[in-house]
Amino acid sequence: MGFLRVLFCLGAALALSLSLGGCMSVSPERQRLVSRPGMVFSDAPHLSNRSALSAQIEPGRAAGGAQAAGCTACR
């Protein structure tokens, strides 16, 4: 049920995002506010609040692999 709940919520968000994006195209010249440094999604470290260490103390944020929760060293 957990997965279905996650999928439902994100599917709804995705559908909303895509439908609004499709209906309301914002031309580049009207994007002054959303182009400011604090408004963009960027890999540049000074524009991102992603923490390289936070997955160690909040394991559900890790995508997978050894750092994700789920008994990598568990017995």
Binding site: G38, F41, I57, E58, R75
Partner: protein, 364 residues
Amino acid sequence: MKRLLIGFFLAAFFGARAAEPEKRLLGAMPAAEFEAEVLQASDITLTQAAGTLRLNRGATEAALTLGFGTLAIDYAPVAFDLFGSARGRKETALSAQLALRHRAGTRLELLGSLGARDGFDSYRALWLDEYFRQRFEGRPGYRSAQPRGAAFSGGARWEYQLASGFVQLGYARSQDDVAPGYEIDFTGLRRGAETLVTDTVTLGFENVLTERLRTRVELRVATTSEREPRYGAEISARYALGERWIVRADAGASDERPTFRAQYGGAELEFAATETFAIFFGAQLYRDTGEIENALLFSSAAPGLRSRRADLGLRRDGERLAWRVSVGRVAGDFAATNRNTDFFQNLYRDRSWLALRAAASWKF
């Protein structure tokens, strides 16, 4: 870490006065990025620093990143652990990554990366390694851990709507040699999985929905050796309240059968004090149900966790030099261990973490 932070501030100070024409390196426009982070609790200190050199040559950008991290723990066994002794332990981890981005058309970008890491990737793995070392070192079947990993990824980003609609699809594979767990029975010592292979597929959408709102949605599925798939999703929004105020909000969830679930979310409020300086304050909440227990006798699986985080920071957006510093507190509260996990009461105890982060980008 102190030297790294001093170097960062010196670079920021002297770099701020530069106004020369852009330089070229190997015929490409270079840029450098630097990031340093510290998480510190009373018995654990984690640091991570990374430097990136970006070379942009026409349609192709290459980024080489070198990373260095340390993990320091004051290992403490529980009172009824007759085989354990308190011991400080410090490990380092090195990493390197080469990432490429190529514009294959007016609206299509191809992405790829290759990376490797040598060293422990978490304080928990280090704590568990020390526990098993004290208990089983010298027995037939025990091996000193040498954790390392390698990964590659590939993907594409398509601008399906001019400057306002993007979709990105990615695939990544990583292989991690981990510090294994051990079990002992009448047949001797048994070692747990030593190598984990993870395949991850991500699908993301970024949209400018209005003149003030930018959103991103990401769906993710990851399969790791001997485990059920982990599904994850995140949604982020950036909203301009006005000329000076911005709200950033994020929410996400992970789910892995049979019982692991995590939810997290937070918001950040930013105020642009001047043209180049902005101050921000953020708060985040996180909770999970704890890891999957698969042990017959005892387990090192973490119990459920709830944590709260608050950060305060400053950002400067210069033409060539941009930087960001923040300080925060994270309070993590674990649920009580049970009889299967009581040996790890000190690993899974509540902690208050000091979080420091500094990052900078510099165009030559």
